[in-house]
Amino acid sequence: MTQDVVLAARNVAKSYGAVNALKGVNFDIHRGQVTTLFGENGAGKSTLMKILSGVIQPTSGEIILDGQAITFDNASHARARGISIIHQELSLAPNLSVRDNIFMGREIRGPMGVDFAEETRQAQALMAELEQDIDPATPVGALRLGQQQIVEIARALSVDSRILIMDEPTSALSASEVEVLFKVIRDLTAKGVSIVYISHHLEEALQITHHAVVLRDGTMTAYAPRAEIDLNWIVRNMVGENYDLGSPPEVTFGAEALTVEGLTLPGAGFNLVDNLSLSVRKGEIVCIYGLMGAGRTELLETIAGRLRPSAGRILLEGAEMGALSIAERIETGLALVPEDRQRDGLVQTMSVGQNLSLASILSFTRGLFTSRRAEAAIIDSSIKRVTVKTSGPAAPIGSLSGGNQQKVVIGKMMATNPRVLLLDEPSRGIDIGAKAEVFRLLAEGARQGLAVVYSTSEVGECLSIAHRIIVMRKGRIVAEFGPETTKEEIMAASGEAKAA
């Protein structure tokens, strides 16, 4: 049994000042198998993985590699021993090309410096393996978030490692890309590579895993092999109760809240958003589903005012929005929760509280100055509302776990009291409990007349929250469904070859 375990953590603890992120955890990675780590936001999953891959050092406890205790000085030490990691927060250089990012720090040497031709060839091979049509010469900054995640995965695959840790590798991918990744994972495990997988998409993870481990508040609360568990087991052990993401709230729709007419956003050679019209009524929750590159993000960013359309009109309760700035749109009640929290959502130099209150500063400005009391009230209620796990409003935003950072972005825009709320993949990285909480907030908002447009690449989410499901493809709406539709129908309409 033990020789089956390649890498193990024994009694590993980690504290950041007064915060105990891990409190004595035992964790085994099995040879040639997939071990999945489940747990709430802030449970300590990423922390444990960073310790196992040498990125950070544990406060106490030991790491055992092939039966021998070992201390990793840094990540490259661990990489030299065959352990590589795909980080939850992307760690790519946006100015460099896909190829240069993949081989960053491990450039292939040729007789004349770096052998770019060989690197390009290998990068192309990796993209082919991942079934992605990405030119290795493209700068990473020009890629969509999902594509960047693919590059991050390709980088980890380009190292021939024995142990591959994947911290939420699929949070920005849609079902067909996940399917491809799973194929790659199966190939790897067949070759004897051991995988650690972390995901908040529980059903998806169940398809691939051999072992399940649940972390809760820095301690391991449950372990079981795949054969003995199901979805309920995970949820029960993760949060202690059963969550039902429920069904769309019963609402009688009001007047038209958001109207989009003939919206067109030109791209290179084709339209990213193509003559698209959409109308959402007060109290209605509309879900937009589509594959990567369908134009969902572009549509939402155009409505929010970050991108300028070449044609079309945007109306909020009948009032023309086209000429307004982002700030003015937020002021009138049109808010966007952006997809990429690192790039578009958070200000890293500011505290948790300052990030939460950033979009609603004017509402607590009295005369020339901000009112501390009013600001603290907004921050406190936001932290409670979206259940951010933090040591306090003054904590740096970087000290939060990934999912909790996502909750801050959602809370920040909700604090502006919008009338129309656009959410671009808001569930990226948040745990099932928090997702239920967000859904509850949206449902409650809808009952009070909030119109919601919710973009997602997880079909299940559409079915449990949306009154209407819209499928986008190549910048157009290709299908529309009511809440009684099925996953298969939606995915077929999106152009997804296989149903997951």
Binding site: G17, E331, V347, L358, I361, L368, P393, T416
Partner: protein
């Protein structure tokens, strides 16, 4: 609880620049009996005022992640324009003499205008701040030289019969013994410290410097913020230009050479990050005083000017080194 430990950490950080200041004062007081006197402190403070005023403007720009290399030239150009206006403006055959307050207002407007040019280049045309303000630095310096033909306006005292006396008030008068220039510095520092800490504009500034994209999507008017900070920096450079030419009662086109670097030094010694988003007026003021008191101390002790340059450079690097070591362990990621 963490709020407390956070503010303690911040206090220590500022205390470090403060410690440097105390060490400097102690060392020079020991070396020279003339250093630790009220009159010397007031004289030194009036020297610091010029850098300090420039540094406040520089801080605003640096907080947004930019830089303003033009302030030294703008200072000189504004001084020259003030000088020209004091000498009288030729309107056809007659010469028009403006009252001093008019000169001051127009000079500030000129500074603001040049600053706004920087702002437009950076905010609307997306020229990197370094390049935009470098260009404007040369242009403003050149315009100053053109205006005076390379000469200096020497007599700015004005004449009672023309009703334009009082230009030297800024540089020479005192309130309760404190030079006006120092009063101006303190007033500006308080105004901007409060603005940064307590107004929406201040918050916007920090957010823009921390992550302009995220700020934009959160409804921060990023272009307005950028335009405003460069304009303010220009206006503050004009204030410094007025103070300097008033102290010297002359205005030359080569004044303020490399002052932008001193202002940047004050800002970074004061703990601000050149990458934007971090820094305070209090810190910047400490930085300005560290640099000013050191420079004057070296003069008083009679160190050769060449060594003065070496010492100043070393202190700047040392101070920032201490800050970055502190930041590194505080972040500890």
């Amino acid at each position: 609880m963490s709020q407390k430990s956070n503010s303690v950490a911040r206090l220590l950080l500022e205390a470090r620049a403060f410690l440097a200041l105390i060490v400097i004062v102690a060392v020079f007081s020991w070396l020279s009996p003339n250093y630790f006197t009220v009159s010397n402190f007031l004289v030194m403070a009036s020297h610091v005022a010029i850098y300090g005023i420039l540094a406040i403007g520089m801080l605003l720009v640096i907080l947004t992640g930019g830089i303003d290399l033009s302030v030294g030239s703008v200072l000189a150009f504004c001084g020259v324009m003030a000088g020209a206006m004091m000498q009288g403006i030729e309107l056809g055959t007659s010469v028009y003499y403006m009252p001093v307050w008019g000169v001051v207002v127009l000079t500030l407007a000129i500074g603001g205008l040049i600053g706004a040019v920087n702002g437009v280049l950076v905010a609307f045309f997306r020229v990197p701040a370094f390049v935009a303000t470098l260009g404007v630095m040369y242009v403003a310096r050149g315009l100053g030289l053109l205006q005076t033909n390379g000469l200096t306006y020497n007599n700015l005292a004005g004449k009672p019969e023309l009703g334009n006396t009082g230009f030297d008030w800024l540089g020479f008068n005192r309130v309760e013994g404190v030079p006006i220039s120092v009063v101006v510095l303190v007033v500006l520092a308080v105004i901007f410290a409060v603005t940064l800490a307590r107004s929406a504009f201040g918050r916007w500034l920090y957010a823009t410097g921390g992550n302009a994209r995220a700020a934009d999507l959160s409804g921060v008017p990023v272009t307005f913020v950028l335009l405003t900070v460069y304009t303010l920096s220009g206006i503050l450079a004009a204030v410094a230009g007025l103070v300097l030419s008033s102290q010297l009662t002359s205005a030359g086109p080569t004044a303020g050479n490399s002052y932008e670097l001193t202002a940047i030094a004050a800002v970074v010694v004061g703990g601000a990050a050149l990458s934007g988003g971090r820094g305070t007026v209090q810190g910047t003021m400490l930085g300005a005083f560290v640099i000013g008191f050191l420079a004057d101390g070296l003069v008083i002790v009679g160190v050769s000017p060449y060594w003065q340059t070496v010492f100043t450079g070393a202190v700047i690097v040392l101070a920032v080194l201490m800050n970055s070591l502190g930041n590194g362990s505080a972040r500890g990621r």
